[in-house]
Symmetry: C2
Subunit: 132 residues, 2 copies
Amino acid sequence: MSLKLDDQIINNFVITPEIYNKFIALFEDRNPLHTDEQFALSKGFSGKVMHGNILNGFLSYFVGECLPYKNVIIHSQEIIYKNPVFLNDHLQLTARVNGIYESVGAIEFNYTFKNQVEKIVAKGKIQIGLLK
Amino acid sequence: MSLKLDDQIINNFVITPEIYNKFIALFEDRNPLHTDEQFALSKGFSGKVMHGNILNGFLSYFVGECLPYKNVIIHSQEIIYKNPVFLNDHLQLTARVNGIYESVGAIEFNYTFKNQVEKIVAKGKIQIGLLK
């Protein structure tokens, strides 16, 4: 099986308390927006805002584990955060093949993360290489 | 204290076995490039290649903990992987203020990650917003 232009891959993720707590234990980003409910409320959010880079970790899983190839490496990534993500949000990642560059063994995806009310919370591009 | 154009912030990180193992436990990306020494060697690398998104976790720490502001949120990020990162590599992040957009309360940084032999392993841009 190999990917063609416009193929879509969908994967679901949940920002569980376990993921949130492990991310903080790992990277030690305890910014008050992520850890202080009152601070987040004072800035107009409905609760602690999850770290955007949790979504980049989900993209790591997507590339490493969800593609029909294992011989992959990420060349570049871009992410634009459109709306905040909160604890226990259910996110659906939809990645679409945007370009296949056979001469250099590269594939580019456009992707979105939508939450449980179908709001796009982040979008971007990711380019991978296929290792020979 | 506030940032001005061309200000630089430098921070050092080490890809310890603990960080590597916790990243895998968190995001479950067990792609053989990251977990199978023989596979990585067969693809021409000198050892298991670390997950690029560990560097994005370091950027989370940079934004959340290393700036002279706490009222920050990431708007967007871009990362281009230039060279592989291996276990126990020492990485130096240098972020330079590339633009200050006061009307919208945004700051853009260019950054590089260099390893212990001064080779750039990744570079990119990150734009943050200052929360009112």
